[in-house]
């Protein structure tokens, strides 16, 4: 029988990392994600799987440790929350530029600046549009449950290694902090040195029996060669867009209106939709799981058969830009409802906002 546990989303990340066979975690405390490092320190995986766990002197150092470890072919990760993720952007850009697999958790809090420690989804732009300098994308996974927090560790690492690009788990603070039932994955062994060398022939892990040296760098001063690199990155992003779009739909078979929401907001929207449906108001929901690549095509299909779309986010309106881009004319109207500052709306507020934009839907 599978073992069901009760824990926080952040704790699930730590357990799942060890069980995935992660080689190293490098972090720095910041609310609301410090439980990842705390849980790892408590579980002492260096005694069991041999996983390295290190509290760095800063977020900057932590992401560069991730860069150093990833460059040797190891499965390494870091976690932080919004202000700390801003500090990591330089390193994330270097990871993308050097085509290194790595996993980054952003357990989002409200900003800008030091902002608040309460939950938010206001780093959507930063996560999905690059974040650091240069033309690049991260694979961005948005968990809505503690179970998905656990599951997306393996998914994030697998995609990162498959495409040689960093992945980000973009969780709102609610998913990181709330406790839920979770079934943890079985323990996998860490890859042997031989397996690392086979999987990552590019890794700078000492030449070993290799004849040539491996160099991991993001630098190329020859413009003609740099453009070739840029085109290769873009080709990878097109393959990811083609193959890795993930989303979930609820009540979309007969929906007259559509809500679009990710993470914990999708769950609150679902509750609002279920209450409205009891009264006969036919609203559907699409929950993007990958925020990049974005489920553009499916949103366009669903929007085409609806009278109106409401995008619900814990921010001033960020994902709504991608929803609008997805929907071509003649389009239904697209509206936004968001709360900021760490305030989380209840289902009643959401449905009220829905009726304010679509009063004709009220029965």
């Amino acid at each position: 029988m599978e073992e069901v546990k009760l824990m926080k989303g952040n704790e699930a990340i730590a357990h799942a990392a060890i069980r995935y066979g992660c080689d190293g975690y490098f972090g720095y405390p910041i609310t609301p994600q410090s439980e990842v490092l705390e849980t790892l320190a408590e579980l002492m995986p260096w005694e069991t799987t041999g996983m390295v766990v290190l509290q760095a002197e800063s977020e900057v150092a932590a992401i560069n440790m991730v860069y150093g470890g990833a460059a040797t072919g190891k499965a390494v990760m870091t976690s932080s929350s919004s202000p700390g993720i801003s500090l990591k952007q330089e390193g994330i850009s270097y990871l993308a530029a050097s085509e290194l697999p790595a996993l980054i958790l952003n357990c989002m809090r409200g900003g800008p600046g030091l902002g608040t420690i309460q939950p938010s989804q206001s780093d959507y732009f930063q996560a999905t549009k690059g974040g650091g300098h240069g033309d690049y994308h991260l694979i961005v996974l948005a968990p809505a449950t503690v179970q998905e927090m656990a599951d997306f560790v393996a998914l994030g690492f697998d995609l990162a290694f498959k495409y040689r690009t960093p992945s980000m788990i973009l969780a709102d603070g609610i998913v990181g902090q709330m406790m839920e039932k979770v079934v943890l994955p079985p323990q996998r062994p860490r890859r042997t040195e031989e397996e690392v060398r086979r999987q990552c022939p590019w890794a700078a892990c000492g030449k070993g029996s290799r004849k040539h040296r491996n160099v991991v760098t993001s630098l190329e001063l020859d413009s003609a060669k740099m453009e070739v690199n840029n085109l290769r990155f873009q080709e990878t992003y097109r393959r990811i867009e083609e193959n890795e779009v993930r989303f979930e739909e609820y009540y979309t078979d007969d929906c007259e209106y559509l809500m679009v929401a990710f993470g914990s907001m999708a769950r609150i929207c679902l509750k609002a939709i279920e209450e409205a449906r009891e009264k006969g108001v036919r609203i559907g929901l699409i929950r993007p799981i990958t925020l990049w690549p974005f489920p553009t095509k499916r949103i366009a299909e669903l929007a085409a058969k609806t009278k109106g779309v409401l995008v619900v986010e814990l921010n001033a309106g960020q994902m709504i830009e991608d929803v609008r881009l997805a929907i071509s004319a003649p389009s239904p109207s697209v509206h936004h409802f968001g709360r900021m500052g760490g305030i989380v709306p209840n289902p009643g507020e959401i449905i009220e906002a829905f009726y304010s934009h679509y009063p004709e839907a009220k029965i």
Binding site: L54, A62, V216, T217
Partner: protein
């Protein structure tokens, strides 16, 4: 008589080290980097470390070190080499991991990473080229630039009231419990080159024996940035640099 009759392998007394590549370096003639690269390449070969060495290149003049020394390399963001080295070393404990950094990289933008890697006693080697100037970007002031020294950003000479004091960082690193060996060397004379090689060999041995962090500062010249001839740069270094940055071991435990 053909030159091949004269230049025979048994007569050879000086050659390119096996692990120094045939790439033409971008370093200016007279620059200390070439000599230090040669020492590192010789030692990695002599110590049999070619197959298990990871070098971490900096941002600065040595950014292309990976083109010249034939081992695996990772190119770091500016100042972050000790953070990369920390992870590379902990995740690959059988490897020799060394960073090769300039004064701006190590003692300005990367001060935090340097101090904390040393303080944790990471089993790595830090080779620190101190030429008191930002060479790669065209000769701007470095944290180690001497008072009165003219650079592109101190065109009338470094002034305490505007720019603060030159930073001697090696004594700070020597005061940390995590370092086992901190030394200052130079490569301006044959004797100095031999001493510097002994120092780097000791540093590599310390890392392999997991004795903590070793730092080898090489007080160096930058004749292009200093706007002096290579020979005059050496004289200027002896007269001025060695006063602020005296050679010798600062810590050897």
């Amino acid at each position: 008589m053909d030159f091949k009759d004269i230049i025979r392998p048994e007569n050879k007394v000086y050659a390119r080290p096996r692990l120094l590549t045939e790439n033409i370096t971008h370093y200016c003639p007279g620059c200390s980097h070439g000599v230090v690269h040669r020492i590192v390449a010789e030692l990695l070969d002599e110590m049999g470390l070619e197959d298990r060495t990871i070098g971490i290149a900096p941002v600065g003049c040595a950014v292309f070190a990976y083109n010249y020394i034939d081992v695996d390399w990772i190119e770091a963001a500016h100042g972050r080499a000790p953070a990369l080295a920390t992870a590379a070393s902990r995740l690959n404990p059988d490897c020799l991991v060394f960073t090769y950094q300039g004064d701006g990289d190590l003692a300005a933008i990367g001060t935090a990473e340097t101090i904390h890697a040393c303080n944790r006693g990471e089993n790595i080697v830090i080779i620190f080229i101190n030429n008191a100037i930002y060479g790669m970007t065209g000769g701007q002031m470095a944290p180690t630039t001497l008072l009165g020294m003219k650079t592109a950003t101190t065109p009338y000479g470094r002034r305490v009231d505007l720019n603060g004091y030159p930073l001697a960082i090696s004594p700070i690193l020597a005061s940390l419990d995590g370092t086992c060996y901190v030394t200052r060397q130079a490569v301006h004379t044959p004797g100095a080159v031999r001493k510097a090689k002994v120092a780097i060999r000791k540093a590599f041995t310390n890392a392999l024996e997991k004795r903590g962090t070793s730092v080898v500062e090489i007080v160096s010249t930058c004749n292009s940035g200093w706007k002096l001839s290579p020979a005059d740069s050496n004289k200027w270094m002896e007269k001025h640099m060695f006063e602020k940055y005296p050679l010798g071991d600062l810590k050897n435990v």
